[in-house]
Symmetry: C2
DNA sequence: TCCTAAAAGATGTATAGACATAATGGGGTC
DNA sequence: GACCCCATTATGTCTATACATCTTTTAGGA
């Protein structure tokens, strides 16, 4: 059922390095509420004395905690336990083949539609490319155990992805191919619920109007739009799971 | 529409500190693909020479990049550009009042149901407390511009939250109160789509069967369950948005 | 009294050096 | 040739020190 799980923290309950021990210790005091929000934590030199180490070591720990958002540091004044920034969760979206295989179901996919065309005005909202840019428009149905699992509707910016027009997406699903090709990216996710329309319902083998979980992702690499994908899951059967622990 | 947006990176295109400059430089080479996945990046001593700084400075940058998942470090072998771990996104869920107010709509809420009771077997799946524990069971409807915006169904573990049984949740919504009370927490999110049942539909003023976005969150503090909440949004009207840029 | 300037106190950044740790590769031995 | 041991090498961690930077506080002068 779960798409994925991820825990950020490096949880060494039992101290490994001194760095780890100090980090866990301080984090523990914050998490437990022993040091409430707004509390000024001891100065670097005092912590250094307390743990019997140099200020540099403490400084690195505090820098890490500050980056993680647990504390805020003010020159001259000291370091303070910060208001939890709101909830932050790390959400990991693995590629769909892995997702299916982790459920111990045989994976397959088919491509009912794929074609090259010029970007139109409406595509601008999706892919962030100028009108007229050559794009690849692919629809892909992922199957788990022979039954439809997820509908993937994807646009790829041919200008920014080398060799995408030669790739054979009937052999490798586009998502997996892109993951292996495009080095790294920034991404924007949009997650919402929608009732399945007639086409979607047919392709997923569900009834029209069924509540579906829709994940739209836009990806950039070095400032240029790479791809836009819309993943539709039958909503009652699938969920995104994200586990989050402050720190790192 | 958007619940929230968060960008992790500290994007100083134009170098501030040496640390920042090296970090941006190396990250750039990875993001641009100049250093492809699996590429062994120069040794610390070589980078130190290249940037005219000490090994410690380079070491700190690489440590940070490793923590962010951009590179993997292997003793003796060197540091390598890592396979993007899959997509990771930082998802921030702010409290609902802020969410509504950021839409420039007047916020209000009402509490159709609230009561103290003992945890039953069925609650174990939700809140992770032993049967018989005293819990608070609250239903809360959040309104934006006078119209239902979100349905909140919440369980609070009275044993782990000081003063929750005295709090007046007709004045402050429970989510906001908890955020200000409980210092920090680990959380597990489950996001899925569901059709509105009769009760939900009535409370949200929508038709039965409407696709809704459901976010379930369980929160712990220092190992003890704090609260479980189920937020139901009419799906066509709301979406979660998460922006992600690699690096920390 | 009030404004300004200097001192003090905290973090920020960087260095050089030391030792620990782990993987690799190259012997040497059987 | 197979195996084990050890030197090599790159990263991991920590220290002691130095100077920069930014606030707050204090002291001084008009």
């Amino acid at each position: 059922m779960s798409v994925s799980t991820l825990v950020t923290a490096e949880r060494d309950t039992e101290a490994g390095t001194l760095h780890q021990r100090i980090l866990n210790d301080i984090e523990g005091k914050i998490v437990s509420g022993e040091w409430p929000i707004g509390h000024r934590i001891p100065f670097e030199v005092d912590l250094a004395r307390e743990y019997g180490c140099s200020r540099m070591t403490v400084n690195k720990v505090l820098t890490q905690l500050a980056r993680a958002g647990l504390i805020e540091r003010v020159k001259k004044s000291g370091s303070f336990v910060s208001q939890p920034h709101t909830q932050s969760a790390v959400l990991e979206i693995s590629d769909i083949r892995k997702e299916v295989e982790s459920l111990k179901l045989p994976y397959a996919f088919n491509v009912p539609r794929a074609g090259k065309r010029k970007a139109q005005g409406a595509d601008r909202l999706l892919l962030d490319v100028p009108v007229g840019t050559a794009i690849l428009d692919i629809t892909c149905v992922h199957l788990a155990g022979g039954k439809p699992f997820c509908l993937e509707q994807r646009l790829i910016n041919l200008a920014s992805v080398e060799g995408a027009d030669q790739a054979d997406f009937t052999k490798v699903p586009p998502g997996q191919w892109l993951l292996s090709q495009v080095p790294w990216s920034s991404a924007e996710h949009r997650i919402h619920a929608a009732a399945a329309d007639a086409t979607t319902a047919e392709q997923l083998g569900i009834e029209q109007g069924t509540a579906c979980l829709v994940i739209e992702r836009r990806t950039w690499s070095a400032g240029a739009a790479v791809t836009q994908v819309r993943l539709t899951y039958p909503g009652d059967r699938h969920a995104l799971v994200a586990t989050f622990t402050p720190s790192s």
